[in-house]
């Protein structure tokens, strides 16, 4: 087990290094002169020269990469060119939104997708099965941004003045604000301390923050705003999970040991839940890990449509305004997150399937 974990950890180092290299290279290859892009077309050559020297953009490219790696390892992503603020600070403000949205979507996809797949497999070749699978096929074929817009139209306009009304954009209703838990508890903190950044990160997870400060009004409002984007974002992974659960469960249900279990009189439900599902869930777990990549990509679109200030939208805005440090840092964080999640998924096999441990 330990050996497997160590081997798996070591094997992800080259990939992480590769990601660093790619993000660095991409940001450097973006066309256009960063100086005139940031300081404006009227920037004099002297001003530009100082600007480039200050940011180390005149050094050889490998030195720039060395400086970059050193900084990243120390958690320093530089200053955003557009906002003139540390990127890490912007990340702390924006990341929680995206995490909240992705987690909500993933949870929805899992708690709806797996039962749907199970239902479909258990009612194999019946109308239920056909309807579920047709739904799943349509689900994987819909563009996220279109579904989001249509949901916004349906719930914010058509269902206006009904209890089903949902807000089409934003994180909180205007006038309402989430009070950070450290303020609510009356803690006094130095604003530039690393601890503050960390606490701020958690305070920006509105759902978490409102629960621990017992602010139910904000919690309700946050959840209400989260429903539409989460539903839009969850559709594709939900459909993929449902299909995978179905096919995997069907395969397991055809095995000899299931027949043996049935033959010795184990109740139908126990056969499905205890004998079949456990073995069938292994490929489903893999798919859940892989669909996170789609979620993070989809977050760019969902955040744009629903006007949410998350990482995805920030990244997109940074690309259009050539904000190198933000592009580098955010792409890096997202790709790292993706690699780490898939690492966790791989390691979870050892818990789900003892055979992996023995290999």
């Amino acid at each position: 087990m330990l050996q497997y974990t160590v081997r798996r950890l070591l094997s992800s180092i080259p990939v992480l290094f590769g990601i660093l290299l790619v993000t660095f290279a991409l940001a450097r290859m973006i066309p256009g002169d960063p100086c005139t892009a940031i300081l404006g077309e009227k920037a004099t050559p002297e001003v530009c020269e100082r600007f480039i020297r200050e940011r180390g953009l005149d050094r050889p490219i490998y030195v720039q990469f060395g400086i970059y790696m050193q900084d990243v390892l120390q958690g320093d992503f530089g200053n955003s060119i557009r906002f003139s603020r540390p990127v890490s600070q912007i990340l702390v403000e924006r990341l929680p939104m995206t995490i909240e949205l992705s987690l909500a979507a993933l949870t929805l996809a899992v708690i709806v997708g797996i039962p749907l797949g199970m239902l479909s497999a258990m009612k194999h070749n019946t109308a239920t099965d056909v309807v579920t699978m047709v739904g799943a096929n349509i689900g994987v074929s819909m563009p996220v941004f279109w579904l989001g817009l249509m949901l916004a139209y349906l719930f914010a306009l058509v269902l206006k003045d009904t209890p089903l009304w949902l807000p089409p954009s934003g994180r909180l209703t205007a006038g309402l604000s989430s009070i950070p838990f450290y303020d609510a508890y009356g803690w006094t903190l130095a604003k530039d301390a690393a601890v503050f950044k960390l606490l701020n990160f958690f305070a920006n997870l509105y759902v978490f923050n409102s629960i621990i400060t017992a602010d139910w009004k904000v919690l309700g409002d946050t959840l209400k705003h989260l429903i539409l984007p989460a539903v839009a974002l969850s559709t594709i992974p939900m459909a993929v999970i449902a299909r995978m659960t179905r096919s995997s469960l069907l395969e397991v249900l055809g095995r000899e040991y299931i027949r043996a279990a049935k033959a010795k009189g184990v109740p139908h439900r126990t056969v499905i839940v205890k004998h079949a599902l456990r073995n069938a869930l292994l490929p489903v777990v893999t798919i859940i890990g892989l669909s996170l990549g789609g979620l993070l990509g989809g977050a760019v679109l969902t955040e744009t449509i629903f006007g949410l200030a998350g990482v995805g939208r920030a990244l997109f805005e940074a690309i259009t305004s050539r904000d190198y440090p933000i592009i580098q840092a955010f792409t890096l964080v997202i790709a790292f997150g993706y690699v780490v999640v898939n690492l966790i998924v791989d390691l979870s096999y050892t818990l789900l399937d003892p055979r992996v441990r023995l290999q």
Binding site: P14, V15, G18, I19, L21, V22, L26, M29, I30, P31, H124, N137, I138, V140, S141, M142, P143, V144, F145, W146, L147, L149, M150, A152, Y153, A156, L157, V240, R243, M244, S247, L250, E251, G254, E256, R259, P283, I287, L290, L292, G293, G294, L295, L296, G297, G298, V300, L301, T304, I305, L315, F316, I319, T320, I327, T331, I334, A335, Y338, V339
Partner: protein
């Protein structure tokens, strides 16, 4: 029926067919199986309509995709909803079955012409990825050693990025535009083909018929093209069809973000993007292009699933394995 019983039954059926004296090729069998699956038939029908629309676009569409109708038709208003005379729209109003967009162009004509773009997008990106991906995968699998390591590590890094994000990043380097978006999606799609090809090469490399070819003096390229590639065609076709679907989705997303096709190109994602702020006032302008994308992607997905089941009898009818 258990898996083993099924195989026996299947084998029995095939034997009976063989005894009937009719030689059945792999492709004929595949086609027959494909037509037996309802979902595959639905997929093929959708794609058939799409191809017909793309080819016959100038005949089907009542207007040119970029023709502004101001001055041409009396009383025409921008963003007016669908008007179909058969469904009760007053006869004195000009007929536009999917309405009129913000620049007073016939939306139906634009959607019909858009089918050309979606097909071009799907096939060029996947074509590009297939050629480069299979070549890289074949080299990695056949040569092994450091070549294999180097190629596959690069593929791992590409796969470590969520594909849409990587495509966005690549387009930001190349600059927005349809061609660059296609290139970006093509690059992002390469690893999937490289992996499948490499796996096929590895499984075929050690077989006797490859050893025999080698003994007869065949070179690496010949062995790869004649002995290895035909054995990898099945998974490549299935993957290719499914990747066309996701390429169309990604291209629409890039266009939606303003990084792909630019107005006035009648590309569905770009049309949707242009009218997205009008979703509350003119929902039909958002609904129809999205519907067109969904149906097209659905067509390719259904065909891909059908092909997978038809080409691989070992999988049986119900067990689908996600090719990722």
């Amino acid at each position: 029926m258990t898996a083993s019983e099924r195989v026996v039954a299947e084998g029995g059926r095939l034997d009976a067919e063989a005894l009937g004296g009719k030689p059945t090729s792999l492709w004929r069998t595949t086609l027959r199986r494909l037509f037996q699956r309802r979902s595959a038939v639905v997929g093929m029908t959708i794609l058939g309509i799409l191809v017909a629309a793309a080819i016959l676009a100038p005949v089907i569409a009542p207007f040119a995709p970029d023709q502004v109708l101001i001055g041409l038709e009396e009383g025409i208003k921008k963003r007016s909803g669908p008007c179909i005379h058969l469904l009760g729209c007053p006869a004195d109003q000009p007929e536009h079955i999917l309405g009129v967009d913000g620049n007073v162009r016939d939306y139906f004509s634009r959607i019909v012409f858009g089918s050309r773009f979606s097909l071009i997008i799907g096939f060029t990106t996947v074509g590009f990825a297939v050629v480069i991906g299979t070549a890289l995968g074949a080299l990695a699998g056949y040569l092994g050693g450091w070549v294999d390591n180097a190629i596959m590590r690069v593929m791992d890094v590409l796969l470590a990025f969520p594909s849409l994000l990587l495509a966005i990043a690549i387009v930001s380097v190349l600059g927005p535009g349809l061609i660059n978006a296609l290139l970006a999606i093509g690059i992002v799609t390469i690893p999937a083909f490289a992996r499948v090809m490499r796996a096929s090469v590895l499984s075929v490399k050690e077989t006797n018929f490859v050893a025999a070819s080698k003994a007869l003096g065949a070179g690496t390229v010949r062995i790869l093209l004649v002995s290895v590639l035909p054995n990898a065609v099945t998974p490549l076709i299935v993957l290719g069809t499914l990747e066309v679907a996701s390429a169309i989705l990604s291209a629409a997303a890039l266009s939606f973000l303003g990084l792909g096709a630019q107005p006035p190109t009648p590309e569905w994602g770009s049309m949707l993007s242009a009218e997205r702020n009008q979703v509350f006032t003119a929902p039909h302008l958002v609904f129809f292009p999205g519907m067109a994308i969904t149906l097209t992607v659905l067509g390719f997905n259904l065909l891909g699933d059908g092909l997978r089941d038809a080409l691989d009898p070992r999988l049986g009818r119900e067990s689908k394995v996600e090719v990722v």
